[in-house]
């Protein structure tokens, strides 16, 4: 991806998706959403630490695309500009690092800003000590604190520096009289920092990055639009808010995916959420394909099966579905968990541990590629969310007219004018404003009872099932479960819902149910398998 160039009329090939290190401080500052308190605190701590005896080193933990590079780059620029620090930022892939000596040499190269290493002639045995002396001498001469930025701590500690001795030596170096402060990104807590016997056991000061909330996603898209001077997008900020809230159910709050969504929305917010979702899936295809390149074929098979199931599974069930030995699947599940593709979601039966995909858009992406019926389901679900969050008065007027027609036809059901086709029944349903949830569900049940609808339709069928048996909620994927919550009138705040920017002027079916946060939050906890121990 290419960084966006600021200014109307400039050639813009896409939002800044993968490389914040090419952005300037103004851009990074303007598009820093939700993380600002953490950045300001970290900056204050780094500056304060420079005059204290204690040396703290930091890891920023968050999944891919959560904004780690954005934060470290902004920190680096501000420390250089405002506080006179020197910054050595190692390349993301660390191609030239295969030992602690290599790592320190790369820091020297960056500090001295040379093309060739001044330590090129030093032997491997002597490199660590020579490089340490050189870094200390540089710091003493320039009288500047040094920040070293490592993009991927896992890559460094688990693939580049595989020798325990290197870990121990680096930890010793970062301890008393550390010549530099290390700030590193990590997609998860890695064994090298959590293993009780490891030199870096709980060594780093840790900042965990959460997904953005729906409000923060909207804020990020509008902030990006302001920076890119996307006047058309900014002029319809109300519609953007509604669309983002609908999309949030499909993509979650990962900033990288939000930027992909921004790339779709900047072409204009249309009345076709489903089409926009398809465009988004196209946009993220190279990203997901690249991620899957690192996954073994058997693990890919496990991922596909979990995605297509659309619900949580145990390793034993996955093994059966994949026709693979359970122990092999268990090992693959562990690897996929380490890669953050999947996460354990608890043990609702008190025995087996269930797993689910961590990235809901990835699950949809996989379903769309492997399941011919997925598009059908996705269309219904996206249609539901689009209408739930519709904020345009003109659209509501049209819908209301249709709703009246649908109701009239519904009234005729009992008068012997039963609709002839399932298609007609679906059409009626599609006309209903889902925010008139109780009426929508009544109509749905009646159409099913009359035999007009011969198949369960998302999310109405699921909502009826859950209403009758709350345990059914455990069987639903998050995006379906959240739609059910909305229909049952209890999910709004927890799933990022807010009333549409402009309420419908006509309310033919009565009042909207009041959402409550707590029950939805409970459901989310239950879905993820979090249980609250009694204390």
């Amino acid at each position: 991806m290419v960084a966006a160039t600021r200014g109307a009329g400039a050639v813009v090939t896409g939002p800044l998706l993968y490389n914040p290190t090419r952005a300037g401080q103004g851009e990074l500052d303007a598009t820093l959403i939700a993380r600002r308190p953490q950045v300001e605190k970290l900056l204050a701590d780094l500056v304060a630490d420079a005059s204290r005896a204690t040396r703290r080193h930091w890891q920023i933990v968050g999944p891919r695309g959560s904004g780690k590079s954005h934060i470290t780059q902004l920190l680096a620029l501000r420390l250089e500009r405002d506080h006179g620090w020197a910054v050595a930022r190692l390349s993301e892939e660390q191609y030239r690092v295969n030992s602690l000596g290599d790592l320190l040499e790369q820091i020297v190269v960056r500090l001295e800003d040379t093309a060739d290493s001044p330590l090129a002639d030093v032997s491997a045995e002597d490199l660590v000590d020579r490089a340490i002396d050189r870094i200390r001498a540089w710091r003493k001469h320039h009288r500047k604190p040094i920040l070293v930025v490592v993009e991927d701590l896992r890559l460094l500690l688990e693939r580049k520096l595989r020798d325990h001795r290197d870990h121990a030596r680096l930890r010793e170096l970062l301890g008393r009289d550390a010549p530099f402060v290390l700030v590193a990104g990590a997609t998860r807590f890695i064994d090298a920092t959590t293993d009780h016997d490891a030199p870096f056991y709980d060594f780093f000061q840790t900042i965990v990055l959460d997904d953005l909330s729906a409000d923060e996603v909207t804020e990020l898209i509008l902030a990006r639009a302001r920076w890119d001077r996307e006047a058309a997008l900014l002029q319809q900020s109300d519609r953007v808010g509604g669309r983002v809230r609908a999309m949030y159910h499909f993509i979650g709050g990962n900033p990288r995916l939000v930027m992909a969504l921004y790339g779709v929305l900047r072409a204009g917010v249309t009345d076709q959420l489903y089409q926009e979702l398809l465009e988004l899936l196209d946009a993220v295809t190279p990203y997901y394909q690249a991620r899957l390149q690192d996954v073994a074929p058997q693990a890919e098979r496990v991922l596909a099966e979990m995605a297509l199931a659309g619900k949580r599974l145990t390793p034993a069930v996955i093994a059966k579905r994949c026709r693979m030995p359970t122990n092999q699947v268990t090992a693959l599940v562990s690897k996929l968990e380490a890669e953050r593709f999947i996460a354990p979601t608890g043990r609702p039966d008190g025995r087996s541990r269930y797993y689910d995909l961590t990235d809901r858009l990835f699950r949809i992406w996989m379903q769309m590629r492997e399941d011919r019926t997925a598009g059908h389901r996705l269309r219904f679900l996206s249609d539901f969310y689009q209408r739930w969050y519709a904020g345009r008065p003109d659209a509501v007027d049209v819908a209301t007219t249709k709703q009246r027609g649908a109701l009239m036809a519904l009234g005729s059901l009992g008068a012997g004018r039963t609709p002839a086709t399932e298609e007609e029944g679906r059409a009626w349903l599609a006309c209903l404003d889902p925010r008139r949830a109780s009426e929508a569900l009544q109509l749905y049940e009646r159409l099913r009872a009359e035999g007009v609808l011969v198949a369960e339709l998302l999310p109405y069928g699921a909502a009826v099932a859950v209403r009758d048996d709350p345990a059914q909620m455990m069987e639903l994927s998050p995006e379906v479960g959240e739609a059910v919550e909305l229909l049952l009138g209890r999910g709004a705040a927890a799933v990022g819902d807010k009333p549409a920017a402009r309420a419908p002027r006509v309310a033919p079916y009565g009042a909207v149910s009041s959402p409550t946060m707590s029950r939805a939050a409970e459901r989310r906890r239950a879905y993820r398998g979090r249980s609250t121990p009694s204390r």
Binding site: A44, A48, A53, R55, D133, G175, R176, T194, H196
Partner: protein, 408 residues
């Protein structure tokens, strides 16, 4: 950007200066014991052992010279000698004594250290060069005992002061020695004990500390006597009232607005006085308050603990509690899990109660004692007479949430 003076919320790494809080008693006790002999400082990881050792190095008592070395990456006794010698030579007074005596000497040590060229610097910025020069000049690595003896002999010249050599991560180094050459490691430990016990090295003291407990391993080898001469000092968690004061001090340094009852609530919720666990909770409470731009209230603490500290965000951080049993306990793993599950249900438990529980689980009661010993040496549990309980409340909560069977 200025911060109030006091302990910053340092979660994990060792602290120095004003960030060390509430360990004055341990430090005073250490100095007292060091007057009598060398000391081994023990305690679970992240209880503050290294921080206390740094405090001794940073503010030596009158009449003491202190040098600190971290030796976790040291793999052989000759490397150990190089590390210690290089560290001592960076100290002006020690260097004068060591090198001053060499002018009249013809020992092997004099030849070795005499190879240091005049242009070799002795400052901290040149310690790499110093280390390399000493390493390269040590052509015969087997002579480390002789060189060490002669180094100690040089140190005898410091008659008016005592010398304290702090060796951090000593057990880790010994573990590496044992992995590489068991007999050589035992030889080193015997030699090291002998110099600690000799009268002519009476004013040189060693303070040893580290992250792991090497003694069970030595015990299995029948070599537990090799460290028996050392006085032990255990770094304990803060008592409850002290823990509350500590939390209040950290919150003040961090400049985080909070209700008056927050420090007490943090200690109540974390249910332990281990600074590390308290600081993890403080950090999450602080992040939560800043994100929501609000004052930290008493009512926020428990939800943050449940959702953030024990929840998915930090699950991986503490997963070693779970995986360690699988990786290191072998045939005792299942029994260890039964014990911890029972303690989740009820604690403290008498050994007899545990016997009944493990028999219900179909486990061999003969393995209970070695399992308890292992759990205790790994700081999962603590025993007071016959009563057994989790070593701290945080660990119990974590186990209950993530590892206990039948209660997901």
């Amino acid at each position: 950007m200025s911060r109030a003076r006091g302990p910053a919320n340092t979660v994990g790494s060792s602290v120095r200066g004003e960030d060390l809080w509430g360990r004055e008693g341990e430090i005073a006790e250490l100095w007292k014991r060091l007057h009598r002999g060398s000391v081994l400082i023990t305690g679970p990881r992240r209880h503050g052992k290294s921080s206390v050792m740094h405090a001794l190095a940073d503010r030596p008592q009158a009449g003491w010279i202190v040098e600190y070395v971290d030796v976790e990456y040291v793999c052989t006794p000759d490397e150990f000698l190089v590390e210690v010698t290089a560290a001592l030579l960076t100290h002006d007074k020690l260097r004068r004594r060591i090198l001053g005596g060499l002018a009249r000497g013809t020992s092997r040590f004099a030849s070795w250290v005499g190879t240091l060229a005049k242009d070799v610097g002795f400052g901290r910025e040149q310690i790499g060069e110093l280390r390399l020069t000493l390493r390269d000049a040590l052509s015969d690595k087997r002579v480390w005992p002789e060189l060490s003896e002669q180094l100690l002999s040089q140190l005898q010249r410091i008659e008016d002061e005592r010398l304290l050599i702090i060796i951090d991560e000593f057990p880790m180094m010994i573990g590496t020695f044992l992995d590489r050459d068991s007999d050589g490691a035992v030889h080193f430990l015997r030699w090291f004990r002998s110099i600690r016990q000799r009268r002519d090295t009476g004013h040189v003291r060693f303070l040893l500390g580290g992250s792991v407990n090497i003694e069970p391993r030595l015990e299995r080898m029948g070599q537990q006597a090799l460290l028996n001469d050392l006085d032990r000092l255990i770094i304990e968690p803060f008592p409850r009232a002290r823990a509350v004061e500590f939390v209040a001090a950290v919150l003040a340094t961090e400049g985080l607005g909070h209700e008056p009852g927050v420090p007490t609530e943090i200690v109540r919720v974390a249910d332990c006085g281990v600074p590390f666990f308290l600081q993890v909770l403080i950090q999450e409470c602080s992040a939560d308050a800043r994100r929501h731009a609000r004052t930290l209230a008493v009512a926020h603490v428990e939800p943050v603990y449940q959702e953030r500290v024990l929840g998915p965000a930090n699950k991986g951080r503490f997963s070693h509690y779970h995986t360690r049993l699988r990786e290191h306990y072998g045939e005792l793993e299942e029994l260890a899990r039964v014990v911890l599950d029972e303690l989740v249900r009820r604690q403290p438990l008498a050994v007899d109660d545990l016997v009944a529980a493990i028999q219900r689980a179909g486990e061999d009661r003969g393995r209970l004692e070695p399992t308890l010993t292992l759990l205790e040496s790994d700081y999962y549990i603590e025993r007071e007479r016959d009563q057994i309980r989790f070593a701290n409340g945080f660990l119990r909560s974590w186990w209950q949430r993530h590892a206990a069977r039948g209660r997901s």
